[in-house]
């Protein structure tokens, strides 16, 4: 299916061909930019709407429930209803809010969340801008959302919001480091910071097989980066009401929500590109393969959320600084070493090295784990043994 494989490239050529009939070259460029942006925005908004649906369905199944099933057949109109409700809802400004910061925060949250889509490749010709430092660009712009979280926390004039914002900053800063270190290992092997080049380098095997340790570190860090459960302490309901977005309602809350889910999609796309081989795959068109991989990772994130309880703040910091950071550094060294040895065995040396490192780390962690206190004597009614 060569036409389907290159459907979007064909569309692009067709539209720009039509436009060049009555527009000067710079006009065509501008129009194509606008069209790309609109298409991407529409894609993202619809994706976010249905991510919430997917998440609710997956979580429901984990909890032996059906999930949304009232609005429309199988509940597929539920996201539409949610969006309408959020748009119609009154915007309430707290009396003690720092109004300028309060209103700017949702904007600062959404704008950087959209920026990575300028460089994310959905397919061979489906990347708006193939820049040479994309691997650096994506974490750099997404980390601007940290500022938005702090702004929201400060601007709300609410101690819970502020605590949520502070926690978000601490968490994002802590988890960016092991995340970037594990990305570094991929860059080391590929020799390029361009996402397109990284995907092309995975033609024979995805880097997941060669660097499973790096993938696990990156996955954990990504979940923490987007404040997802079990690392959702910036919005821990039981402690902080709703964290930084406690005081937001209506459209402001919708912006945070949108940015959070776009962020999830972004990190999943990054993981799919860096570790699962991006658009590479047999038979199906490349963009379909890419979306399959992204949704696979998203489902894993929902799965984690449905399974694990929230960690404490100290556990969160310990995990990042005492476990993931050293492991990520070891990972970089091991990957560099394996790459330098130049064994022509595909992913096998990397896989073996990763497994050895993981086993060693597991043994070290186990030996350092404090001994469990002896079980207290049982109290209450007991069957006396004869």
């Amino acid at each position: 299916m060569p036409s389907l494989n290159n459907l979007f490239g064909f569309l692009q050529d067709w539209i720009s061909g039509k436009l060049s009939g009555f527009l000067p070259p710079w006009g065509v460029t501008l129009a194509m930019m606008a069209i790309t942006i609109v298409v991407l925005l529409l894609f993202l908004v619809v994706t976010v709407m249905y991510l919430t649906y997917l998440e609710r369905k997956v979580l429901a199944r984990i909890a032996d429930r059906l999930g949304p099933n009232r609005a429309g057949p199988l509940g597929i109109a539920q996201p539409v209803a949610d969006v309408l409700k959020l748009i119609v809802k009154e915007v309430i400004v707290p009396a003690r809010a720092d109004v300028a910061v309060y209103f700017l925060a949702p904007v600062v949250m959404v704008a950087p969340a959209l920026l990575p889509y300028a460089v994310l490749p959905f397919g061979p010709r489906m990347v708006p801008a193939d820049i040479s430092v994309a691997v650096l660009f994506v974490p750099a712009v997404t980390s601007i959302t940290t500022l938005a979280l702090l702004m929201a926390g400060w601007g709300s004039g609410n101690k819970y919001s502020l605590l949520g914002g502070l926690r978000a900053v601490a968490q994002k800063v802590s988890y960016s480091i092991p995340l970037l270190l594990s990305f570094l290992a991929v860059v080391l092997v590929t020799g390029s910071l361009s996402l397109v080049r990284i995907v092309e380098a995975q033609a024979s095997y995805p880097f997941l097989l060669a660097q499973p340790l790096g993938f696990i570190i990156a996955l954990i860090c990504c979940v923490a980066e987007v404040n997802r459960s079990p690392f959702d302490i910036p919005e821990a309901e039981s402690e902080l009401v709703a964290g930084y977005h406690t005081e937001y309602s209506g459209v402001g809350f919708a912006m945070f929500f949108l940015a959070e889910y776009i962020g999830m999609f972004t990190v999943s796309a990054m993981l799919a590109i860096l570790y699962l081989g991006g658009w590479q795959g047999p038979l199906l068109p490349p963009y379909i393969w890419f979306l399959i991989k992204v949704y696979l990772i998203l489902c894993v994130m929902f799965w984690l959320r449905g399974t694990f309880p929230r960690v404490r703040v100290d556990q969160l910091m310990n995990l990042s600084w005492k476990v993931l950071l050293p492991l990520a550094m070891v990972n970089v060294v091991v990957v560099a070493l394996v790459d330098k040895l130049g064994l022509r065995l595909g992913f096998l040396p990397g896989l073996v090295a990763s497994l050895v490192v993981m086993a060693a780390a597991g043994a070290i962690l186990r030996s350092r784990r404090p001994a469990r206190p002896a079980a207290p004597p049982r109290r209450g009614w007991q069957v006396r043994e004869a």
Binding site: V58, L66, L74, W303, G362, R366
Partner: protein
């Protein structure tokens, strides 16, 4: 090993997801149809949430739903003899019974019920009336959709109780 607990947890949740889909598949089209289905038993595994308007639970025999008046299955005559035992037993006085002697002296039915009302709005569903009934007439039914729009509709007359009894006895 460190982390086996995490994997075990993931395995548990995965099993639940698969199990719900497996059960879903078995009763596939019914669950997603909008028309009500017959009363059913509650399942204890998988998707055990009852999707209420479409799925309804069959209540257990001891359930205190609403009162019913039973008939003799052979003759089709109602069992009530208008003895007023239920009226006397009722702590709230929500049952009132009036009867008269059957003018047809040959009939097996010596007393006819002229008026029997049960005011469900004031009933505490204690069941003393059912216990007091000497002639196997007054019983509990298993229905639970008793909401009405008008308070007057909460007063059940004899015909309605007999009708509910017929439904409960499957007639």
């Amino acid at each position: 090993m460190v982390g086996t607990g995490l994997l075990k947890g993931l395995w548990v949740t995965l099993r639940h997801v698969v199990e719900t889909y497996r059960q879903d598949w078995q009763k596939f089209p019914r669950r997603y149809r909008r028309e009500p289905v017959a009363l059913q038993e509650q399942s204890l595994t998988g998707l055990f949430t009852v999707q209420y308007p479409e799925e309804r639970l069959r209540m257990f025999p001891r359930f205190h739903g609403h009162l019913i008046q039973k008939r003799d299955p052979e003759t089709g005559l109602y069992n009530c003899t208008a003895c007023k035992a239920c009226e006397r037993a009722c702590p709230h006085g929500v049952i009132s019974v009036e009867g008269e002697r059957n003018p047809d002296r040959e009939s097996k039915k010596k007393m006819l019920v002229t008026r029997f009302t049960w005011n469900a709005g004031r009933c505490v569903y204690c069941g003393l009336c059912v216990e007091a009934c000497p002639s196997d007439a007054l019983h509990w039914g298993q229905g639970y959709e008793l909401a009405v729009r008008n308070r007057d509709e909460l007063i059940f007359d004899f015909e309605r109780l007999l009708e509910l009894g017929d439904q409960a006895q499957g007639r």
